[in-house]
Every structure is written in structure tokens, then in C-alpha cells.
């Protein structure tokens, strides 16, 4: 064997190995779906879909697994979070990419990265220290309501702050993709900056900005630790924003220890994980589809 054939052989086998490694990444995704489906199959087989998704009776000891309260809890918290995060993040995105000078951007960009980097358990600590007392002692009495502070609203506020960075980050990329010529054309016709933003930039970027928010929703839907610490975790459908809720991720996190001792409990929790996975997958694919239609390349 001469040197050249060794080099060629290394290249050929190396290429094979690396392509296999890349394909493994696709397989990992499939493996997760199949693994979760396989683990949750027993409960899907023994219970009717209506009994699982439309009932809020959660009695693992009696073999009753109604996920409705958890699903509604997750939806409520995510809804509050997005309602709060959407206007703030959109306004910030527009300001940073259309108005702000280089200096303000240079300050804000690391700050937003910082916000994205804070661990979720620290968000939880902050929520317990600041948001919960705020809701309990000021916000709820102000509206004449009673609340322990551990409620949908607190969880929504904490989540809203957690998803701000991703919406701003992706939104900035979306606005950057709007051709500069469009802005110039609008400005040259006598429109001022705000009119240009309103009638030209936003019209062009609207689907992308919406997709950025969808990405935020999917992030919020699966967030566990911070929500677990402030949501209150009572398995009842919340009647108002001041009631506690029990979202799906918190259900999984709280009950893993005891699941092996009750029949089908592990299967039920795996079904909860599968639900999270499917919802997040759907939202992700939806927003990726919008981005690819807009010919945007976004990661995050």
C-alpha cells in the first residue's frame, strides 16, 4: 500500500463515517417519536381518546388518566405568556432594526443574549422572589381577587420574559431580510419612517414575524422548571388568571419518582411527553415552513 491509496482510503471511509453521523441526527428525531410512542402505547390502547383528552379526572390509582386539566393549564399559561411577550418583543424588534443606532444595538444585543442565557431554574427563583409576591400582594388585591401568587398569571409573566430573546432574535433576522430598496422607495415617496415601517416593512415581514412568535409559543409550551416553580401545580382547570394551573411539563417533572409503583402511570407520563413533542414539532415545522417560503435561513 503506498501513501496515496491510504489517503484515498481514509477519505472514502471518512466520508462514509461522517455521512452516517449526519444521518444519525435525522434518525435521532425518528427514534424519539418512536420511543415515546412505543412507551405510551399501553395507555393509548387501554383508554379511549375521549377518556384521555376530554376528561379532567386524574386518578392514577384508579386507572383514570384525564389530561384535560393539564392541557388547558398549559394552553392558558402559554397564551398569557405570548399575549404579554408579543407586543413587547415586536416593538423592541422594530426599534432595534429600524430606528436604533449602532451604539444602542451594541448595548442591547449582549443584553438580549444574556436574557437567553439565564438558566430556567434561575428564572424560577426570580419568579418566586419577585413575581409571586407582586401578584399576591398587589395585583390580585388591586382587582379585588384573592390569589396565592402561584398562578397562571405569574407563570405567564415568567415565561413571557423567557421567550422574549428568541422572538426578538428571530424577528430581527426577519426584518433584516426585507430589501433595503423597498424602504428607500417608500422614503423617497415622502413617507416618514413610521409610515414606511407600517405600510412597507411590516407588510412584507408579517408572516415571518408571526412565525417568530410561533417559535416562541413552542418554546413556552415545553418550558418546565421555571413554570413548575411558580404555576401552583393544582390539577384543576383554571377559572381565571389568578388560579393555579398544572401544565404538562410540570406533570412529568413532578411525578417521575413515583411512576414506577402505579400501573400505567409511566405510560401516561410518556404520553404527556409525546403530546409536548408533537405540539412543539408541529409549531416548529409550521414556522420553518414560513421561513423557507420567505427564503430565510434562521437557526434558533
Amino acid at each position: 500500500m503506498d501513501r496515496d491509496s491510504i489517503r484515498k482510503g481514509l477519505d472514502r471511509w471518512g466520508r462514509c463515517g461522517m455521512v452516517v453521523a449526519a444521518v444519525l441526527c435525522i434518525l435521532l428525531l425518528l427514534l424519539m417519536v418512536l420511543g415515546l410512542l412505543w412507551k405510551s402505547w399501553p395507555i393509548l390502547e387501554s383508554h379511549s381518546l375521549a377518556g384521555l383528552f376530554l376528561s379532567s379526572v386524574w386518578k392514577p390509582h384508579g386507572g383514570q388518566f384525564g389530561f384535560l386539566a393539564f392541557i388547558v393549564g398549559s394552553l392558558c399559561i402559554t397564551g398569557v405568556a405570548v399575549l404579554l411577550a408579543m407586543p413587547v418583543s415586536l416593538l423592541t424588534t422594530i426599534y432595534l432594526s429600524e430606528y436604533a443606532g449602532r451604539r444602542i444595538r451594541a448595548v442591547m444585543s449582549p443584553l438580549i443574549d444574556l436574557l437567553a442565557g439565564i438558566p430556567s431554574v434561575v428564572y424560577g427563583v426570580w419568579g418566586v422572589l419577585v413575581v409571586v409576591p407582586l401578584v399576591k400582594d398587589y395585583l390580585a388585591p388591586l382587582l379585588g381577587r384573592f390569589s396565592s401568587g402561584y398562578c397562571v398569571l405569574s407563570a405567564g409573566v415568567v415565561l413571557a420574559i423567557m421567550i422574549l430573546p428568541i422572538i426578538i432574535h428571530v424577528g430581527t433576522d426577519v426584518l433584516k431580510s426585507v430589501p433595503q430598496g423597498l424602504r428607500e422607495a417608500s422614503l423617497s415617496l415622502g413617507a416618514n419612517r413610521w409610515e414606511t415601517v407600517k405600510h412597507v416593512v411590516l407588510r412584507r415581514a408579517a408572516p415571518g414575524l408571526l412565525a417568530a412568535n410561533v417559535l416562541g409559543v413552542s418554546r413556552a409550551f415545553g418550558e418546565t422548571m421555571a413554570v413548575l416553580m411558580v404555576a401552583g401545580n393544582v390539577a384543576v382547570i383554571p377559572k381565571s388568571a389568578f388560579d393555579p394551573a398544572y401544565p404538562l411539563p410540570a406533570l412529568i417533572a413532578n411525578n417521575y419518582g413515583e411512576m414506577m409503583s402505579i400501573p400505567q402511570y409511566d405510560s401516561a407520563l410518556m404520553l404527556a411527553a409525546l403530546m409536548l413533542f408533537v405540539v412543539v414539532l408541529g409549531f416548529n415545522l409550521l414556522s420553518r415552513w414560513v421561513f423557507s417560503r420567505m427564503e430565510l435561513h434562521i437557526s434558533g
Binding site: 481514509l10 435525522i26 426599534y95 438558566p119 420553518r288
Partner: protein, 282 residues
Amino acid sequence: MRKQIEEIAAKILMIGATVVVAGMVVLILGTVLWRGLPALSWDMISQTPSGGYYLGKGGGILNAIVGSILVAGGATLLSLGLALPVALCLNVYFKTQSRLAGCVRASLDVLWGVPSIVYGAFGFGLMLWLGLRASLLGGIITVALMILPIMIRAMDEVIHMVPREMLEASDALGATRWEGAWKVILRQALPGLASAALIAFGRGIGDAASVLFTSGFSDRIPMSLAEPAATLPLAIFFQLGTPFPEVQQRGYAAALILTAIVLAASALARLVSHRAGRFVIR
């Protein structure tokens, strides 16, 4: 006139929102610093918990600090072994418009979005299947899976920035693509790759949901891969869950330590890509 008023109103709203975002960062870090700093002591960082630590007795959380660094560090090394070849492969062996490369990137983007609790559940299922118990190894595997997409996508971006001409030059000199990838592209992208690994480390060390069932918890520093390992996020969670104010205080201090580690990792990542970038040919 109405035009101007509308513009000014919009501008005020936008600046307000931006100030709110910046204020939140300051508020969160300020709160953690303000509540954590008084409870922070040398004992906390240098000792493992003595009996009854969670009831307010003495000791520290060295077990969790070391455990977290071991879990996240091990996971970073493990996923580096897969991330580096994949990221290089995506840019060197695949054609630029390759269908398969697009598929790999799309799956990685989706995997990035999968919640860490799902990784935790999946990792737990995997461990049951492999016959592993909650241990350092289980935590490392699960966290490695979780940070893999983050690392590959970050590395992909970095390698994508390397001028295509360098690969063409190496081709022209008769080098194989393998040599081009590992001897030219890798060297060019090294600072960026190091910072991608650090970012992934920061994400791994801060995550609680994925290690909740997979790495277990123990008061001792793990001596082997089969022993359970305590992690900082869980230590914070458990300390906050106790009814004793002095233990909760230490939970705030632990949150401060975790935040400091994560921020240090991200600052180091910035520094590495910034400073070492000088040695890269552009």
C-alpha cells in the same frame, strides 16, 4: 401634523418596550445578586453537605457544583465527538444545495426546539432499556443528546463562514476532502468551534429538566460514572422547596453561583471567538 404625532407615539412605545427588555435583564440579575450575595459563603463552595443540610445544618453544595461541571463537561465532550464530524460533513462533503443536508439541518432545528423535559423522559426510557440506573453516565448521555443540535447548528454557522476558496485551494493542491476538512477548515474555524462548544456547555449546565430523572442526586461527589451525581439546578430547586428560610437563602446563593458559571461560559465563548479570531485568515 398627524403623521408626526403618530410617529412620535410609535417611537415612544418602541423605546418603552426596549427599556422594559433591558430593565428585565437588570432586574433578574440584580435580584439574584441581591438575594444571593448575603447568603454566599466560602463553606458553601468548598464543602459537601453534612447530614441535615436541607434542614438548615452546615455544609455546602460542592457536590452539586462538581456534579454539574462533570455532567455538562462530559456531555460537551461526548456530543463534540458527533457534532464536529457532522458539522464538517455538512459543509465539506455535501453539495451546497444538497437535499440530504437540508434534511439534516431541518431535523437539527426541530431537535433544538424539543423541550428538555422530553429529552429527560426519552433519556430515562433509554436508560431503562439499557439497564442503567440514575447515574452520572445517564445524565451525561441525556444532556449530550440535548445539547447536540445546539452545538452542531452553532458549528455549522461557524464553518459556513470559512471562505469556500480555502477548500477549493486545498482541492487544487491535490489534498483529499478529508484532509481539507480536518487540516484546513478545522484549523480556520477553531476559535468559533471552541465558542460553540462553550455555548453548548452553558446550556447543558443550566438545564434542570433533562437531569431530573437521569443523573439522580447524592450528597457525595461522584467517583465513578455509575454513581448518581447532584446537579446545581436541582440543588437550587430542592433548597427552595424546603420550608426553612436559611436553606432557601442558600438556594438563592446557589442560583447566584449557577448564573455566574453560565455567564462566565458565555463571556469566555465571546472572548475566544473574538481574540483567537485574529489568527484566522479571512
